[in-house]
């Protein structure tokens, strides 16, 4: 579904993404982990079309992507950001936020679709006419996910979708994302600094360090410590150190 080959992104004299290649089959998930500045979010933004300064080859469902994305692309690929408070318009109600993608893509049946979307992310119909500040952090992230699903995309790009949430809410959102993937056959490309979160949702994981993807391994290999690169080992050690009581 997603193919990236020899992707480079440069900002002035910084080589933010250096020769990154990976592929994600339809209905599967690929997680990118790394520390701040490793270039993981830049890969996601280049694929989403938010950053035009890249070279290399990127394909969606076999079709090569250009620098300028067509409208159809944004119907098939949607993004969920880390902080739902920053990504929802503060003066738009949930109803407005959810109907916008329908208007943009000329999709009818607005009323029924909004009610269905709210039900799908397990929000009560009563939140429909509320503003973002009247919702909790978890509810806001559910709205952001519902909005991303409005245009019935095939691919969801997830940029640290649970890092701003409390752990109990994180569990609910991760379960929701797993359910949605199963129900709709969605393909996920996810970025996170949390190895356990990524391994929970994605069968394949790419580790980034200084702009390069230094290792690709399955979640299973990561769990069983079948690791090739020292940086992956270091990240895993830090993550599991806290798990053992």
């Amino acid at each position: 579904m997603i193919e990236v080959e020899g992707l480079h992104v440069r900002f002035d004299d910084v080589h933010a993404v250096n020769n990154v290649s990976f592929a994600v089959p339809r209905g599967s998930g690929f997680g990118i982990v790394g520390e701040s500045g490793s270039g993981k979010s830049t890969v996601l933004r280049a694929f989403s079309g938010l950053n035009p300064d890249w070279t290399g080859t990127m394909r969606l469902d076999g079709a090569k992507l250009g620098r300028q994305r067509e409208k159809q692309f944004f119907r098939r690929v949607q993004m969920v950001f880390q902080d739902p408070y920053g990504s929802l318009h503060p003066r738009q109600t949930v109803d407005r936020a959810l109907s916008e993608p329908l208007l943009v893509h000329g999709i009818g049946d607005v009323e029924a679709r909004i009610l269905r979307a709210l039900a799908e992310v397990a929000l009560p119909p009563s939140v429909r006419f509320r503003y973002p500040h009247q919702l909790s952090g978890g509810q806001r992230q559910r709205v952001a996910i519902a909005r991303a699903l409005m245009a019935e995309p095939e691919v969801l790009l997830l940029d640290e979708p649970t890092s701003a949430l409390d752990v109990s809410v994180q569990a609910e959102v991760l379960n929701l994302l797993a359910d949605l993937q199963q129900r709709r056959g969605l393909t996920y490309l996810m970025v996170s600094h949390n190895l356990a979160v990524v391994a929970h949702l994605c069968p394949m994981i790419g580790v980034m360090l200084g702009g390069e993807m230094v290792e690709q391994l399955s979640a299973d290999d990561l769990r069983h410590n079948r690791i090739a690169h020292a940086h992956t080992a270091a990240l895993r050690a830090l993550s599991t150190e806290l798990e053992e009581p």
Partner: protein, 278 residues
């Protein structure tokens, strides 16, 4: 028995709202000696308010009541502002989450640490500068001279946090309160900063209150953990006993984390029992 640094009995903090009083902290009691105490809870559990009330650093509309609220024998609730200033920063330091916002953007790191040192120690400029460099070295900065000359925007998050810790150490406090000191940092940097805090606290014989939403992390670095839910302490336990936690909320906090070593296809979701509020 170590001296009692903090002694809180029956603390409640309320805020007036249009619907009447909203209780943010309810009947909290805790004592702290020279030890590392973690306060864990989710957003809105009252963990930050509880810790900040020790320095009486609360929003001006907060209504605070307590049977006892003492820092090193000083009655914090009845102390005058001048007495509080002798505590804040000098005898008890506060480390905040994000150095980007907590440091002065138009002063170099060195100037800020010198200022903190002079405000509490009354030395010359030259002594203050030497002290600042020494403090930067103590927080394991390899090139103190360069960092002292840098402005906060020229420093990484981890460096900024070290500068803030150095500033708080300047007056040689008896207590450090660290409010989510590492949530804005990467995992590797997070571990370094916490190890540094741990080492400094035990070397200087300070008390430490570490406030965080991350239960496993806190248990790893503290001696004792109190878990707060909806303004109350629901459980208090030794850090090593975390796996024997009894309260369903504490258990829920541990169980709902995805882990690498014990994968689950579905994460257990916290079912909040209204009885926890009683």
């Amino acid at each position: 028995m170590s001296p009692v640094l903090v002694d809180i009995a029956n603390l409640s903090i309320a805020f007036p709202t249009q619907q009447g009083l909203s209780l943010a902290v309810r009947e909290v009691s805790l004592t702290l000696g020279v030890e590392k105490l973690g306060i864990v809870g989710e957003s809105g559990s009252g963990k930050s308010l509880t810790a900040r009330s020790i320095l009486r650093l609360l929003p001006s509309n907060a209504l605070v009541t307590a049977d006892r609220m003492e820092f090193a024998g000083i009655d914090v609730l009845r102390a005058r502002e001048a007495e509080l200033r002798a505590i804040r920063g000098r005898r008890a330091g506060l480390i905040l989450q994000d150095p980007k916002y907590a440091l002065n953007p138009v002063m170099t790191a060195g100037e800020q640490i010198s200022e903190a040192w002079r405000a509490h120690r009354k030395g010359t400029r030259r002594q203050a500068r030497a002290a600042a460099l020494d403090l930067l070295a103590q927080v394991q900065i390899r090139d103190p001279e360069r960092v002292a000359r840098s402005y906060p925007h020229e420093l990484s998050g981890g460096m900024g946090q070290r500068v803030m810790i150095a500033m708080m150490l300047a007056p040689d406090p008896e207590l450090l309160i660290a409010d989510e000191p590492t949530s804005a940092l990467d995992a590797t940097v997070q571990a370094e900063i916490l190890r540094l805090l741990e080492a400094l606290v035990s070397r200087r014989g300070m008390g430490l209150i570490l406030i965080s939403h991350d239960l496993p992390l806190v248990a790893h670095f503290c001696d004792r953990v109190v878990v707060m839910y909806a303004g109350r302490i629901v459980e208090e336990l030794g850090a090593a006993d975390l796996s024997h936690a009894r309260h369903p909320y504490t258990r829920g906090l541990i169980d709902c984390l995805p882990t690498l070593t014990h994968p689950k296809s579905r994460l257990p979701v916290m079912v909040r029992d209204p009885a926890w509020l009683a």
